[in-house]
């Protein structure tokens, strides 16, 4: 008897009498049995026991099952029996691309809106810098544990923990901004400017936190819709440079995030954790630590770059952050495809390493190219040496950012944080105390090499395939 009868001959069996109706409709979803014990288990579970086997001339169900030929009649049949991973995988990959792109556009649109608002509203560049760093850290503080919980399938817990941390982050931002600008007010500046600065920092933190939570908790269509609207608002904002636009964008996003978080938290009933646990705190620490390290890295590199070229490097850093999300999805798709086709461990590992290196090189090339274009557009007469410095800084920022994102997404967030903090310290020390060309070259080389190694080691983890 062919094992195919378990899968494809139910109608015939159903017509052959009550005793033979052992092939339960729907059981074919289980696919081809792997061995004779599997056949016996299926037979018994569908009512074909020892008595039925005796009727069929076998001493028991095990002997009857042993009569099944498990070899496939045709190789095509064997390919049919596993569940169709290819279709699901393609669908999932498309969804991941859309999700990653939406998240990128969300951040990019927000950055454009706030930059425009800053330019139009007379906000000082230092304030914008502080707001950017505070938003970065706050976003990671909330996003990392929320992402971790969502990865564990605890969507309700993710919403609750994310909400707690969001309140904490915004609270800290409010207190920090008030203290910072109160001190600033004593030393210099009119009260109106200080107030506007405070508002900018808090508004940007609110936006960053909301974007991080919505990017993790929101469904794809909602995130994509918000991302498109934010991008449009950002572009319009660039044209009209209106501060109220940024506040409005943050308020709308906050309202949508609160509504989404409330819905996600209540969907899990009362099963989710009300407060963050230790693992959430560790995850938040790693996320925030990584953001602090990366911010230090960027600030240190900006110190090393001549003043007029800082804007292009900042834009390049922003671009690297935006591009790394789709890059991760692309690498994931390549790794997955490779692992499904390859049959040797060594080949997959080395190919994964090479593809990761190639991904980082492409990311670096894209951001360096963008930085150089911006430099050529904004700074018409920069010497070659200065342009090289800007290019090196942009490349280093992109590799550090991309490597960190890859390691974090691979679940190695502690390694990502350690590497980011190490790189940040190296860059800051070099920028302020050892700004010699040789030290800078060595520092950039070591930072790039370290982060590349971290990224490759993270990509080597089989769980990412």
């Amino acid at each position: 008897v062919s094992a195919d009868s378990l899968l494809y001959r139910q109608d015939q069996l159903d017509r052959s009498g009550p005793r033979r109706r052992w092939a339960e409709p729907g059981r074919d979803a289980r696919g081809r049995p792997v061995d004779h014990l599997d056949v016996a288990a299926r037979l018994e579970s569908s009512g074909f026991g020892d008595l039925a086997a005796v009727d069929e001339g076998s001493p028991d169900v095990f002997a009857y099952a042993a009569g099944f030929d498990l070899a496939p009649a045709r190789r095509e049949r064997l390919r049919e029996t596993p569940p169709p991973p290819a279709a699901r995988s393609a669908e999932a990959t498309t969804s991941r691309w859309a999700e990653a792109t939406s998240r990128s556009v969300l951040i990019l649109g927000g950055a454009l809106t706030f930059s425009a608002a800053g330019a139009g509203g007379g906000i000082r560049s230092e304030t914008l810098l502080v707001a950017g760093v505070a938003g970065w850290v706050a976003g990671q503080l909330c996003g990392a544990p929320t992402w971790r919980r969502r990865g564990l399938g605890d969507r309700a817990g993710a919403a609750r923990v994310g909400s707690w941390l969001a309140v904490l982050a915004v609270g800290l931002a409010v207190v920090g901004a008030i203290i910072g600008h109160a001190a600033d007010l004593v030393v210099s500046g009119p009260a109106a400017v200080a107030l506007a600065d405070t508002g900018t920092v808090v508004t940007w933190v609110v936006y960053a936190v909301a974007a991080a939570l919505l990017g993790v908790l929101g469904n794809l269509s909602r995130v994509a819709g918000v991302a498109v609207i934010t991008a449009v608002v950002g572009v319009v904002g660039l044209a009209i440079a209106e501060h109220a636009l940024a506040v409005g964008a943050a308020a709308v996003l906050l309202a949508m995030t609160v509504e989404q978080a409330r819905r996600a938290a209540s969907a899990g009933g009362r099963q989710g954790l009300a407060r963050p646990d230790r693992a959430d705190v560790v995850s938040a620490r790693n996320g925030a630590g990584q953001a602090v390290g990366l911010a230090a890295c960027l600030l240190g590199l900006l110190v090393l770059v001549p003043g007029p070229l800082r804007a292009p490097v900042t834009v390049a850093a922003m671009a690297a952050s935006t591009l790394s999300e789709p890059m991760l999805v692309g690498l994931g798709a390549i790794f997955g495809s490779l692992a499904r086709r390859a049959t040797t461990w060594r080949r997959v590992r080395w190919t994964v390493a090479m593809v990761t290196l190639a991904g980082l090189v492409v990311l670096a090339a894209a951001t360096v190219g963008l930085a150089l274009l911006m430099a050529a557009w904004l700074v018409t007469s920069a010497p070659h040496a200065q342009q090289h410095a800007a290019a090196a800084a942009a490349g280093a920022v992109s590799v550090v950012n991309g490597g960190c994102a890859l390691a974090q997404r691979a679940g190695r967030d502690r390694a990502a944080m350690s590497a980011a903090v190490g790189c940040g310290i190296a860059v800051v020390v070099t920028a302020w105390w050892l700004p010699s060309p040789l030290a800078v070259v060595l520092m950039i080389g070591s930072v790039v090499a370290t982060m590349t190694l971290v990224a490759v080691r993270a990509a080597w983890q089989p769980v990412n395939w």
Partner: protein, 518 residues
């Protein structure tokens, strides 16, 4: 005696089923000191009151987060990683052998014992952390390559398949080096991961191991894996590994204590020595099931259980339709919940009843609190399942003195007996036979009453909770009274290939009580 009771996903983190059995066992033996080991999906909270004799409860979150390795682990675990890699190679070569798999293959069993022994060696870098790095995937690929020789029908195994299989199996292997209190006897309440943990403890501390299975672990995994969205090759690899673990546990256990002889068939098939298999049926607290003397006003057949295709309610409805022309007032009352996803099946059965013209006499009663109301509601209690282990509903009906008609599947015949005095057995999926049995009992009050009395007598004689506990008590006594004879020096066995392993020569002395239940 200090007893370590190891279970997976049951006691004390969930209620009902095997957890009830565990609680009865622990509560019923206050002369022993109990150490509970719960392998869980992540839960670490007891839902049962803790009996005073429970000295400790250790939770092993099998599917929890992998512990982060300590600082400097890469340098400190260089040698350990090499040992683990070699042990994984050995383990998978046994699970996926070049030659045909033999459940009683002594040489390969020794190799697996050695592999698991090395994996279980204590080290300051947890095995779970090491397995999370590469895990079994490279070993699976190497073993598969050898296994394919002579099996041309096997497809190739991709790296993604191997990684997926490793992710499923390594979670069980990662339990091997977890610390837990010292005990004198280790009792695994299931095969698979629970038995793996128990086996390693048994080897390391040279203590006897007892294995109880309520369902046959491997049989259930065969069925459950079929529903997972994984490829055939992944299922093949994972089930091969589980088969290797299960056969090893059957070979090693000092006593294998299935809850039904139906399960014992599988255990014997998977290599358990028949001389060490003793069936101990589950017990029911008889005080909760007093005899029910009154009967409903109209002839009624009652069914209690969840609405599920395995209960084959279509056959029950067909049998009901066949008996109705002969007993016109007869009614069929179906008690029990309809689990999510089975609504379509309930509709299908209802449509069948409608087509047969009996829907006016059939009622869906829904969930009930305990089985007594459902048992009380029928002149006859029916069980139409096509697959069963040891059904509690039939036992409880017998305690209540009700006549039963059941399909002869699983361990049902062990509950009601084959002589027809304590209950009638009919073949599965045979409405005519079932209708005949219903008719016989519904029209003959004297026969029904005599069967009810015989059923209660049989239940009290064989399925009283106290008796069940006494048999386990005896099993522990057997193990501990001559423990030096029970367990071989497995340390040496693991290190010297060729040495007989896993108490292979041990045959425990049989007591009359054991003879009676086996």
């Amino acid at each position: 005696v200090r007893i370590g009771l190891v279970n997976e996903g049951t006691y004390p983190v969930v209620a009902g089923g095997v957890s009830t059995w565990c609680h009865q066992l622990v509560s019923g033996m206050d002369e022993h000191e109990w150490h509970l080991l719960a392998i869980t999906g992540g839960q670490a909270t007891s839902v049962w009151p803790r009996p005073a004799q429970v000295a400790s409860t250790t939770y092993f979150p099998m599917w929890g987060a992998v512990p982060a390795p300590p600082v400097g682990w890469r340098y400190r675990s260089r040698h350990r990683r090499a040992v683990v890699a070699e042990a994984l190679d050995d383990f998978w070569r046994f699970a996926l052998p070049v030659e045909p798999f033999d459940v009683r293959g002594g040489a390969r069993l020794e190799g697996t014992v050695a592999a698991l022994w090395h994996l279980a060696e204590p080290h300051d870098v947890p095995l779970a952390a090491l397995l999370a790095i590469d895990g079994s995937a490279p070993a699976i690929l190497r073993a598969w390559s050898g296994h394919r020789h002579g099996r041309p029908h096997l497809p190739t195994l991709s790296v993604a398949d191997a990684t997926q299989a490793a992710a499923l199996v390594d979670r069980a292997l990662a339990l091997l080096d977890l610390p837990w209190p010292e005990v004198d006897v280790v009792h695994a309440a299931a095969n698979g991961p629970a038995a793996l943990v128990a086996m390693v403890r048994s080897w390391r501390h040279r203590i006897p191991m007892v294995l109880t299975e309520h369902g046959v672990y491997l049989r259930e995994r065969y069925l459950a894996m079929g529903d997972l969205p994984v490829s055939w090759s992944v299922r093949y690899a994972v089930l091969s590994a589980l088969r290797a673990i299960c056969t090893l546990a059957y070979a090693h256990a000092s006593l294998v204590l299935p809850v039904s002889r139906f399960n014992a068939r599988w255990q014997h098939q998977l290599g358990a020595d028949p001389a060490r298999i003793f069936t101990i049926h589950n017990g029911v607290d008889g005080t909760a099931f007093e005899p029910i003397d009154d009967e409903p006003a109209v002839p009624t057949i009652s069914f209690v259980g969840r609405i599920d295709p395995l209960k084959d309610l279509e056959t029950l409805v067909e049998a009901f339709a066949l008996v109705r022309p002969h007993v016109p007032q007869v009614r069929l009352r179906i008690f029990g919940p309809c689990p999510a996803g089975n609504e379509h099946y309930r509709d299908q059965v209802a449509a069948r009843a409608s087509r047969l013209g009996v829907d006016d006499a059939l009622t869906w009663e829904g969930p009930v609190d305990g089985s007594v109301p459902a048992i009380r509601a029928g002149h006859v209690v029916a069980l139409s399942s096509i697959s069963e282990g040891l059904p509690f509903t039939v036992m409880e009906a017998m305690f209540c003195g009700r006549a039963t008609v059941s399909t002869d599947v699983g361990g049902v015949n062990e509950v009601v007996g084959r002589d027809g005095t304590s209950g009638l057995l009919v073949p599965p999926r045979d409405p005519k036979a079932m209708a005949g049995a219903f008719h016989e009992l519904l029209v003959d009050h004297a026969r029904r009453a005599a069967m009810g009395r015989a059923a209660r007598r049989r239940a009290l004689d064989h399925f009283e909770l106290g008796q069940c506990i006494d048999q386990y008590r005896l099993a522990y006594d057997l193990c501990t009274s001559s423990s030096d004879d029970l367990v071989h020096d497995l340390t040496d066995a693991a290190r010297q290939p060729g040495v007989a392993m896993a108490a292979a020569g041990f045959v425990p002395a049989r007591s009359p009580a054991m003879e009676q239940v086996s």
